[in-house]
């Protein structure tokens, strides 16, 4: 499966291994391995089918096709595709889960008012 095309899209290929803190202001597609933390507050993160992310993730949109281990905070939505394997707590406004996706963790749906109130 090819990466989604976008004007501002950074890609981490399947042979790339990164350890540390990742942050930015463009969409990110990870098909390799990332360990640490990922912060893309106003952008989207896509974990590709070969991606293995072991990190806490904060992003606007998070789409998972591969493996993600860590807590997830999405200000807009989370999409778990059928091949997703997610271990960690998910906090988001909206979530969609395809049949076959594996989730081990908590799902906490927070509305905009919840976040504003700091709940």
């Amino acid at each position: 499966m090819s990466a989604p095309l976008s004007v501002d899209l950074a890609q981490i290929g399947r042979s790339v291994v990164i350890k540390g803190e990742l942050s930015g202001s463009e969409d990110l597609y990870v098909d390799g391995q990332v360990e640490g933390s990922i912060g893309l507050k106003n952008n989207s993160l896509t974990v590709g089918p070969n991606g293995q992310v072991k990190a806490s993730v904060e992003s606007k949109v998070i789409i998972v096709q591969g493996k993600l281990e860590g807590n997830v905070l999405a200000s807009d939505r989370v999409e778990l595709r059928k091949t997703a394997v997610v271990t960690g707590d998910i906090t988001t406004q909206r979530i969609s889960i395809e049949e076959g996706a594996y989730l081990k963790g908590k799902v906490d749906i927070q509305g905009k008012t919840d976040k504003a109130a700091g709940k």
């Binding site: 394997v85 076959g100 908590k106 799902v107 906490d108």
Partner: protein
């Protein structure tokens, strides 16, 4: 002659290569659940509940609880039990699953954390060596007064009863869907591909009422509901 025999066998094997049909989509059936209906009064609680769903990850269940403001935790213990690293031998050399390791990897929650645990048909399909340790852990993570819902086959169900996943579609309505394990869905939490299971989980045993009472002997109360589909629904309160 050979082709006649081959055609005859195709009746049993299905179509030949080249004209292969798409894999069958697991059939979904809807059934009423008295046990779930009994819990319905809880869902209207103003106080957010903590619910633990031990079945296959279900978007319907997550939606059902989050729409009502409750917190849901999802953990598929059957898939977790297929982790190859759990296989060990007991003192008699018999192959068992390492329950200590299993509980170190799974069900890691604070004591008295959950209001409701949806166990579904876990005990019927879980390996023998894990059943009691898991129920012991579930007792400890339930709040006093918390409720556990479990389903058990009766002996009339037969040894080949398929394992189902359960989707909540109403306050007392469940959609059941046969679990067909595909290669890509057999990845456990570590990402390992499991090959020990062919097309699903096998019924490990049939509990009678006394076995069920013994299994939940540490709980404060137990209530049985006999369903038409050879399933007993059980509600236990810690």
């Amino acid at each position: 002659m050979a082709s006649t025999a081959q055609n005859f066998m195709k009746l049993f094997r299905g179509s030949s290569r080249g004209t292969e049909a798409a894999p069958p989509v697991p059939q979904k059936l809807t059934r009423r659940s008295s046990g779930l209906g009994e819990l319905a009064r809880l869902w209207d609680s103003e106080t957010p509940l903590c619910v633990l769903d031990l079945g296959s990850t279900s978007a319907a269940n997550i939606r059902f609880f989050t729409e009502r403001g409750h917190k849901i935790y999802s953990e598929d213990l059957l898939v977790a039990s297929t982790e190859p690293g759990l296989v060990t031998k007991d003192e008699e050399g018999k192959v068992v699953l390492d329950s200590r390791q299993f509980l170190a990897d799974n069900l890691q929650y604070p004591a008295a954390h959950f209001d409701v645990v949806l166990c579904w048909n876990l005990a019927d399909y879980l390996d023998e060596s894990l059943v009691r340790p898991v129920m012991g852990r579930l007792w400890s993570v339930l709040k006093p007064g918390g409720v556990l819902l479990a389903f058990f086959h009766t002996k009339d169900a037969g040894p080949d009863s398929p394992c189902f996943r359960f989707h909540i579609v109403g306050k007392d309505m469940l959609e059941t869907q046969r679990i067909v394990l595909k290669r890509e869905t057999r990845r456990g939490p570590t990402g390992a591909i499991h090959t020990a299971v062919s097309d699903g989980f096998r019924l490990q045993r049939v509990f009678n009422n006394r076995h069920i009472e013994t299994l939940f002997r540490d709980f404060a109360s137990i209530k049985f509901f006999l369903a038409r589909d050879n399933v007993r629904e059980v509600l236990v309160v810690r």
